[in-house]
Assembly symmetry: D5
């Protein structure tokens, strides 16, 4: 079994168990986006958290070392983009990505928002015209910096 197989097994076990992602996150006391992404194969899961999750989801303890290994991250773009819920996120980047680049440079200088020293959160907020999804990307600014060892 590789990590991809394990991710699919986790998805099935979660559905049949009826557990929510929030309940799984609460069980290991970690942020819910991190926990969901990790269970979907995007982060290594340390042994203590893995032990709890394996027990919750009725998995074999033999998968704990595999859960603890750094995975090959990422999502097949074609699959991901065909789903309307995920597509809207890509659409926002298609429309606003170059503007964000300009404003990162205007406000911070030449560099990037790190996606490694980074967190992401999702909230439900109310509005008179209907609930809103609010997603916050929060990454350290890294200036282009020409540095060498020594």
């Amino acid at each position: 079994m590789n990590r991809t197989d394990l991710t699919e097994l986790i998805a099935q076990r979660r559905i049949s168990s009826g557990l929510t992602w929030q309940e799984l996150a609460d069980a290991i006391d970690r942020p819910v986006v991190w926990t969901t992404a990790a269970l979907l194969g995007q982060h290594p899961i340390p042994r203590p958290e893995a032990e709890i999750l394996v027990e919750k989801l009725g998995l074999d303890v033999g998968v704990i070392p595999l859960l603890g290994t750094v995975p090959v991250r990422g999502t097949d773009r074609d699959v991901a983009m065909s789903d309307p819920t995920i597509y809207r996120l890509y659409e926002a980047l298609a429309v606003y990505g170059p503007a964000l680049k300009e404003l990162i440079h205007e406000n911070f200088g030449d560099g990037i928002m790190s996606a490694i020293n980074f967190s992401i959160d999702i909230d439900k907020k109310t509005h008179p015209n209907g609930d809103r999804v609010v997603i916050t990307l929060d990454g350290k600014f890294l200036p282009y910096d020409w540095v060498s060892a020594d």
Copy 2:
């Protein structure tokens, strides 16, 4: 001249004028991400705002109707993704996109975050280990709803 040509001309005029995107946004009293995206060809610009911007950037008033037309939106993906500053945003979706989909469904039900009834903001926040870029996507939740006219 089409909108693509005009966008390139605007980019050049802004650089040679030394104006910031923020100054242009302030001049028309609109949010800075909206203004930047609009000047980069992603939104129609209403006549009153267009008149101010055309004057600021030293453009011909003849371009005002073109600025006011709904553009073909979007960004060439290959070009956009080759830039490290923009790429980090796509990387965040590649790692966290499926998790966000799961959590939208868990918290709101079957549906999407609208990218039309939507705003996006960028902030600079301080942190002991260095400034952080905080990008907020804020879209109305739209439930899948099978509706017909009449």
Copy 3:
């Protein structure tokens, strides 16, 4: 078993059972395009309808939670477009898509036809020169609207 496997199983069971899509839709009292799309893996199917369909198609009741989960929507474009029946729909968009965009903007302003608050129907209509397929897309107009929570 994941949703893709289940969709293929449903397709096979429907063929061997001899049931039509219309009969399945009638059994759950839902529109036939919605029902067909849902059974092809594009919509979650609520438990009461799932129970009826599972019984009709001779499936195991254990698949009901999987049918009720929000799926990753979409169709592999290359596969879909190689089929002449589906291709004609894409051809219509290739020829008329930009015109529809222009007319949505001319008649409604800047915005989109929602594909979420949306229904689609197919009818057979007679014509002296032969029967006609009439497909109706019916979606709420969503104006571009820059809104934030709170």
Copy 4:
């Protein structure tokens, strides 16, 4: 000047003239979707209609033969799909295309909806929760039929 150049020129002249697509369609007494598509380079325009349109848009009469020639039809898919307004149409096909195929076969037999003996219309319909875009595709059913000359 080729047809692509001419289409861009028409687009610019229409914007600067302030004419709507509906006014242009009315001037030649043709359906508005047909007229818009034809002016966007998707149909040959017969001489009488071309003479009127050329005059309305202030074009040189020398372009009339070019307008009358059968064009290379279609739209660059990447460009078209990056625009959110057009994308929603492709999204509807990604979600419902295979279902439409199944139902064409169930209701008509093996064959296709013609995109040649075909018309398409767009309407604005009211609904208590907001105006709706209603697009109707109407094509002759063509059964698979193995026929030879003679």
Copy 5:
């Protein structure tokens, strides 16, 4: 078993049985190109013909309903084009396709050669310099015709 699996099984049974495509076509009294294409998964096969073919190829009668279902047509382009025998057909279109378009329009007007009301035949003809493959595509001309139901 889906149609793709069944097509592969048919291919293997035909090879091990030593039957030619022509013999299979003769057995059901259908044109040989149609029969070959149908057995390769491109056409539904009516029950009487399916019963004969299933018996000839030693297949289970349970596959007859699957053979009778309208398939998802088409061929993976990359696979097909890598084969030199098939590639020459694509090469002919790459070199002569635009010329054929021009001549269809010159001789018939604006429209297409139907690939649905269509037959295709292959012959061996002798020539002093060696046998020749003669492939005849024969499709009804369909003029672009803007028609609606009612």
Copy 6:
């Protein structure tokens, strides 16, 4: 001026001159598909024929050497396939290509239909249900043959 530029110029001159492809073919006493393809940039045109065509189309005699050079053949696939008239030819190959391969092998043995020792013709044939386009591909069979010089 390269051959691509020259091909576009020829296309424009032909439209403004009102000459048909058939008239151009008759003027040089060559088959009409060959002539059309050659003028669309797919074959070198020998000097005598080039002199006639250049005069007919009002081109500069300086282009005769360029017309006589072997061109880089082929058509941009994406452009060609977006046009419905050309697409139907590709669709026929997608549906019947593998069957044609099988039957070439069954009737001729291992090898190909040459697209070089090759001609192609298009005819209009009548049929009670409407005129038919008949396209004939006629190529020498070339058996796979492992031969070396000397």
Copy 7:
């Protein structure tokens, strides 16, 4: 088992048997490039040779008809090109392909080097600075020739 499966099985049996490609070619008295390509699934293998090879490789005699069938030729380009040894061949074409085209035309006229009436050989030649790989492509020149049956 299809030809792809069989090719993989042959590859594994050859490795475990320790036989070289040259030994297999010698066993059937055929050129080594032809033999290797044929065993890699690119040529049908006549029964006498197939019987010898099947025995050498310890395969079941039931695969002989499959080995004798004309295969779908070709190699997945992405896979092939990722291997540095194969890539260098593609690189040579990328650098010298257009020059070879020019020189074929200059020396032979308009036409191609056949890849069907064709052989290819590989040799090891010595050179003071190190052994050299010498690959010889040897194909019949086929002039573009517009010929019809009859």
Copy 8:
């Protein structure tokens, strides 16, 4: 003017001058494939040879430094592959590439045929059944060798 522009200019000057590639190669006493490739933009041309070629082709001496610069090598694959003369070379690799890889390894060990310490030649050889194109690739074998500086 960049190298691409210059290459196109060279191509046009050669056609109008009526010079053959062989004559140009003879003028600078270099192999004809090298000379043709170099003039098509694939090799830097040293000053003495460049001076002769510039004079022969009637180019401005100002282009000599540009001819002498190492170019970005390679050919647009889609363009190159659409031409039947070039395509046959790629077809040979698709059919025989993996076999060549196997035989390089069998005869030389793990490594590659260099495309840098490399020459390529084209010959016309006679054969009773027609002239043959013989292309010889001749590259140094480079064994995989794990070496470091110092």
Copy 9:
């Protein structure tokens, strides 16, 4: 003029001036890889350095603001990869990239080598068997770290 145009102009001026990249780097006292990349459009060039370079290359001082703007970084992958000199770098990643990932994780933990807090150097080193190119990538290790503002 945009940055792409300016980069091409710089390339041409450098060739005609005969200046080496090293001389340009020395003139502004910056590392040579940084300087070359910056002049090829990959880094903003601060005003003092830009003034020197503009003077050296005989450019108009009006381009200095454009040189100082953060560019859209990156290289067209297809163009870059067709060049054998650049391709070898990609080949090294194709062969060793996954191994480097494994060893970064084994030696540093979960995270990345920054390409922003990063420098790259190229050296010529001697070796008994021939000079060697030594390229050093030197980037800060960034551990995956889930951090938020505040």
Copy 10:
């Protein structure tokens, strides 16, 4: 079992055994990048080293011949590039690749850095602002050299 299957099995055995890549490299006294790449399927592994590794990883000795065979090298680009750790290496090439090409030519002349006579190393170096990953590519310079056998 083919090499791809074997590579996946090795990956799983290494994780469950808890062995590091460094320990495996030490066991066979080979460089760690070479060893890791070889175990990931990029190099043949000689029998003595294979015997040790097979024993360490608890594999069947029957896989030793397969480990010793020259593999089809390379990595699926889409998979590799979706991982942020690997992507940063590609990003460095996108930004600095053309500059490296220029400097190889400036310092060595026309040619390439070999990726075959090549080694690659990774080090951890300290820096006041945090540990740095230092990757060294070290390849023999190969000048373009037109050489033939004999």
